[in-house]
Symmetry: none
Subunit: 465 residues, 2 copies
């Protein structure tokens, strides 16, 4: 197959964009919030939707039950070219919760294309994370099949429904079904562009460690008039524990936290500096102006190559309207760490526990719930598939594609490496202003359209590696 | 009138206790939850009930409309002894909400006398706070009148229906009706005993200052993977602000916080030490063992005579089930201060604001909502009415009555002093285990019975001052 094969497929994508869009809208209407048990049936329905869609495309698609939400696995049996590369495409069909609902301008599960000053956007929960992204790949396959009858490489797909709730079933499932999932290369679509004109292949992903910490003082909420002054207030204890997590220069104070954190090579530093990253615009877009991380680091270093320690949630006592002079029994914080290099998630969770224990006054106890961790991942850009894909992306977009880092954690990339001995290539078309995990999430219509076209080109390029 | 007059009145109380109890049960069945608009008509009905009851006793009783719930004011016109002391008795007929309803062992508004290991109790919402307490006074008046035809002192009564919802109409009403309410001494029944054997006159009430503080960083919740490390996290900022509110010895660090905090006199200290307060039991009852307040202070000092600074509520980011790696836009804390002596609530609220401003990093803003403050109140125990009442109470109970402090705030006592230039004497028969504001509120039957008898004695004693 030559690249002449690509042109009619791209034309087909352009001519049938509206149908591709309507299919995505159908997927976005499904309320697959994985973290909330109330939406369990809806997650199941979303898996069924994908199975139907892939079966219609000629894939051998099946829904696999797990202790949590189901997996969807599909193989394209039409392609029998034994010598063709076999890729396994991964995405997730679950979405983040939608609260606070009052900050949405529309029903998060009634998606709509909206005109904005920056162009048309697809508005709705999951539009960018990850339903829009995974559909770019599905629709690229549809166009290839519509035009040529089959795909240029052997394709399997693997969708999970627990990515937004810590993927508890993922590793056991991958271990148990290694044979079924194993391919030459994994493709992962849960990442973004460098900017609206510059596509990217993400080659360095931060890891993640997280836990929920609860401090308990009195055995029930007390009246602050009766007990205030004499009884230990766990909100004060928690505040002290959290305040002590960083020093004045923004560095994390946990014992051994920076063990395994590599310094950026000069060449990588130079490449990143050449990207012309607009730190002011990045922070300005969210109402900030001063980088808040470690002193002396650039913003790109802070989000791509340095570890972090963040409070993601905090709660204690009475938080409703009005005032209740309660002295709380408990105070809770959700804390997470983004990890880089060879930082050990388990060692960091232990260091946090020691930090808490060292600050615990008499009569207080602590409990740690749901501790979890996955290390950072670095991709092998020496694999020729990376350069082939980079060129294909560069053909589609105004500016050449870049190899970039990512602040987020996509543990699946590491699992493909460690559990299935497969390299993983991360390509996605999200933008920084997509408001993923926030109200009014969107995906640019151009990201969807050119995303489908990009995968058409990448599949072709991979068939020639 | 001599104290020979008291004995037949006490006997009358004993002989007619069941009727007194049935009248209280009638009052307890009225669902006068003032904070919930759904119960507005019921509050009104409760005011009518009191007017009828007092009119039947020969009082000139009236219900007075306010923008909120009505006031009930009643004057005893039978007593024409111009030289007699004129007392104004204050209570409140409204009650706290009953949720969580599932933690009640019975319908909160179907009161019942229950046998418990500690004796008979009257179970129901408002039994102790404040319907049972106010009825001890009403029934004492009834017994005096039944036996002697009139009361030993001139008595007026003043009941409000908004105490549990911040008393919004109280100050305007007192100002507008100062003439009608003015008497020689106010009697307030909304307090407790020192212990089940030791009656008390509460002579020091802590004041209260409070506010809600919100720190804003980014203009929306962010993805901690994308922005974590570079964007300012307001939860960290708030933690630091709260952690810095106390030093290592438990003292509040706010500038000028201890201005106006008096040291306890040696005699008062000695009196409190002699009470044999069970600090271990007090803390042990709520699962604590070590007093958490200022180093070197006794537990009684901490809750009666020292100021406090407490976080009553705290919230930021995602606090639901599971995990959301959000970098929050806002972090909120509700903070209150219990005040003593002549501490100035406004100065302390300003000092807190300065404390916040001094710790605010670039790109963060703060907002303060609903700041409110009322100073502490100290009663003039040199007024001979106090010693007379103390002796009368000591005659009724196993142990001598004590002048005690109270950690809570009862702003009405200050209003009598400041608006009507009247001293106020706080006598009540509540106990620490009455579960006021909580499910299964109760009032000991013995507190009700001996409370009525106590007021019989106090009225007699006041007639001789």
């Amino acid at each position: 197959m030559t690249s002449d094969a690509v042109t009619p497929v791209l034309s087909h994508v352009d001519a049938h964009l509206d149908e591709s869009l309507q299919r995505l809208m159908g997927l976005l209407r499904l309320q697959s919030i994985s973290t909330d048990p109330a939406f369990k049936a809806e997650c199941d329905r979303t898996a069924d939707w994908l199975v139907d869609e892939l079966a219609e495309l000629g894939f051998d698609a099946a829904k696999h039950v797990t202790p949590g939400h189901p997996m969807v696995v599909a193989h394209d049996d039409d392609n029998d070219a034994d010598e063709a590369m076999h890729v396994l495409f991964y995405g997730h069909y679950d979405v983040q919760p939608v609260d606070p609902l009052n900050l949405w301008d529309r029903d998060p599960f009634d998606p709509q294309v909206e005109d904005t000053p920056a162009g048309k956007v697809i508005r709705g929960r999951g539009a960018a994370d990850d339903k829009g992204q995974l559909m770019t790949f599905v629709e690229a396959c549809r166009a290839w099949k519509a035009v040529h009858g089959n795909l240029p490489v052997k394709v399997s797909m693997f969708f999970e429904g627990e990515e937004e709730s810590g993927s508890p079933s993922l590793v056991p499932y991958m271990k148990a079904h290694a044979e079924d999932l194993k391919a030459d290369l994994a493709l992962i679509c849960d990442t973004g562009m460098f900017d609206p004109e510059t596509p990217a292949i993400t080659t360095a992903l931060r890891g993640l460690a997280k836990l929920e910490l609860t401090i308990t003082g009195p055995n029930k909420d007390l009246h602050s008039g009766m007990f205030g002054g004499a009884a230990r207030n766990p909100a004060h204890v928690l505040a002290k524990i959290l305040a002590d997590l960083h020093d004045e220069d923004g560095a994390c104070t946990l014992e051994g936290f920076y063990d395994g954190v590599p310094e950026l090579s000069n060449s990588q530093k130079a490449q990143w500096e050449n990207l012309g990253f607009d730190a002011e615009g990045f922070l300005g877009g969210v109402g900030l102006s001063v980088p808040a991380g470690e002193k002396g680091r650039s913003v790109l270093e802070m989000v791509w190559s340095r570890p972090t320690c963040e409070v993601n949630g905090m709660s204690s006592g009475y938080t409703g309207a009005g005032f209740k002079t309660v002295l709380p029994s408990k105070a809770m914080a959700k804390i997470s760490f983004r990890l880089v290099g060879t930082q050990d998630p388990q060692a960091i969770l232990k260091a946090l526990e020691a930090h808490v224990a060292a600050r615990l006054p008499a009569d207080c106890s602590y409990a740690i719930h749901d501790p979890e961790g996955s290390p950072a991942t670095t991709m092998p850009i020496e694999n020729p598939a990376f350069e082939a894909a980079r060129k294909a992306l560069s053909d589609e977009w105004p500016k050449p594609a870049a190899f970039i880092g990512s602040g987020g954690s996509i543990p699946i990339a590491g699992y493909f490496q460690n559990l299935l001995d497969m390299d993983a290539m991360l390509i996605g078309f999200g933008l920084d202003d997509d408001q993923i995990h926030s109200p009014n999430e969107k995906y640019n219509l151009s990201a969807y359209h050119k995303g489908i076209r990009s995968w058409v080109r990448v599949l072709d390029a991979l068939s020639k590696v």
